[in-house]
């Protein structure tokens, strides 16, 4: 079984982004970029399934500008076997990415696609579900445990209030939650080896997908700031403020 893992290049999670003064977006020039944290978890899970013998090949995919190749090299260094870069400078929204991935799913016929549950830039939490819909496959989102047995996969999902276990027929789509695993660190020898692994380059047109954005961003603004708070000297002062000033208890 092949496993396909889509990965996204995003602003590093430690960076506090700034909104551009003209309100057209956030300033990501000269900002550190890295692999979306949930996608690292997805790659790690795919590599672990391969190590357990449940998968034969792990293919990493990334859609976007040429620098996405760096993200794919990271995926290869973690343990993916080969990579596909769908190169475009166009703004890609989740529906477009899902369509590109659906075309790749049709071509590569993976047994499992593992995605991150959301990207930390657009915070959409849509692509996996959309891919499942477009490919006509079952989905298990927010996975904290994945077990493949025969032609079935059993997934434990994090839901409001607790956990839920689903069983799906393969092929299937899984999106990762934080607790699924702890991604390994990439080692220098693996980074060197990753440079020799195959990386295929395709264009959206090769896949027959129109990636034109469907939503128009009119404006991006800073969120309303909170007014500066105060420090209180001790517990008594805190209780007094909460009772008499804020009146919340």
């Amino acid at each position: 079984m092949k496993i396909l893992v889509p990965v996204k290049r995003v602003v590093d999670y430690n960076v506090k982004v700034r909104v551009k003064a003209d309100g057209t977006g956030v300033d990501i020039a000269n900002v550190k970029m890295s692999m979306n944290p949930f996608d690292e978890i997805a790659i790690e899970e795919a590599v672990r399934l391969k190590e357990k013998g449940a998968a034969t090949e792990v293919i990493a995919v990334s859609c976007g500008v040429s620098q996405c190749q760096e993200t794919l090299r990271t995926a290869l260094a973690i343990g993916a076997d080969r990579a596909i870069h769908v190169e475009t400078d166009a703004e890609l929204q989740p529906l477009a990415v899902a369509k590109l991935l659906a075309a790749l799913v049709a071509k590569e016929a993976p047994g499992l696609v593992i995605l991150g549950k959301q990207a930390i830039d657009d915070d959409a939490n849509q692509t996996g579900q959309m891919l499942a819909a477009l490919s006509g496959l079952p989905q298990a989102t927010f996975a904290s445990k994945v077990e493949v047995t025969g032609d079935k996969v059993e997934v434990t999902r994090e839901i409001d209030g607790g956990l839920e276990v689903l069983s799906m027929s393969l092929p299937a789509i899984v999106t990762t939650d934080l607790r699924l695993n702890e991604p390994r660190y990439v080692t220098l020898p693996n980074i060197m080896k990753a440079k020799k692994k195959p990386l295929e380059n395709v264009k959206p047109a090769d896949l027959g997908v129109d990636v034109a954005p469907r939503l128009k961003t009119l404006k991006v603004a800073e969120p309303a700031g909170r007014k500066a708070g105060i420090k209180v000297a001790d517990v008594a002062a805190l209780v007094d403020k909460l009772k008499n000033e804020a009146k919340v208890i």
């Binding site: 602003v11 999670y13 430690n14 982004v17 949930f38 989740p94 529906l95 930390i120 830039d121 657009d122 915070d123 959409a124 939490n125 849509q126 579900q129 959309m130 891919l131 499942a132 819909a133 477009l134 079952p138 989905q139 989102t141 927010f142 904290s144 059993e154 994090e158 839901i159 409001d160 209030g161 607790g162 839920e164 276990v165 689903l166 069983s167 799906m168 027929s169 939650d177 934080l178 607790r179 469907r214 939503l215 128009k216 961003t217 009119l218 404006k219 991006v220 800073e222 969120p223 909170r226 708070g229 420090k231 209180v232 001790d234 517990v235 805190l238 209780v239 909460l242 919340v248 208890i249």
Partner: protein, 310 residues
Amino acid sequence: MTVLVIAEHDHGSIKSATLNTVTAAAQIGGDVHVLVAGQNAGAAAAAAAQIAGVSKVLHADGASLAHGLAENVAAQVLSLAAGYSHILFPATAGGKNVAPRVAAQLDVAQLSDVTKVVSADTFERPIYAGNAIATVQSADAIKVLTVRGTAFDAAAAQGGSASVEAVAAVADSGQSSWVRSEIAQNDRPELTAAKIIVSGGRALGSAEQFDAVITPLADKLGAAIGASRAAVDAGYAANDLQVGQTGKIVAPQLYVAVGISGAIQHLAGMKDSKVIVAINKDAEAPIFSVADYGLEADLFTAVPELVKAL
């Protein structure tokens, strides 16, 4: 223009996130219909009919809908979608699971976690962990949205008089099946609906100390318990208590952050709280930049003192 709200329910009653979503639907304008999809969910459908501002409840009842499987619920929504200009889901684990599936099958983009209705086709939503607010316009014929509950007031659960109309349940997709659920039992208010939340972080040191310090304070305040990602990852608290960008988004009247440094990802989940209190011994902790009242103290002495003083 008619708006369809997909109800979140436990078959017997309507969950509060649905009420916030109905308010967002009312702001879009037009008639508001609510879909209750489940098995033996007649009580939930009856409750939905009582919500103020709802003009019709569609009740789909069938074994395929018993566990809210995304494949079946999405198919159910799609079977009804043609008559609607907007389809709204609460931005809960359930809503987020199904909404994109519906949008993709309608070939429309989806708007996630909408925090403001500007007009029938323009909405605000946070991006980059809430560090920016995007105003987004959709040109699609049917708009599929998930609604952030904390950004909208709850519609009154009583006072409505909608008719309940039964609709045929879809057949089971056969692709997935529910095996079991493990729902944590507790008597506390639900995290996303609580008026007061006491949250603990890594500084608590262990699950026992988390319990020993946080629980008495939460009990005293009648509060829900939350946790930072660090506390959850370290096993001090259950996963579903995580507050933050990738956990629950909360906006209570009072949020007490105990031993939480205040990483961007945590602030994204709680910075719309009315009053924020931070108890931390590190004067430089970022949490103090959003706290209305900061107490620089060792939590192991300050919190028990606070419990006593209340």
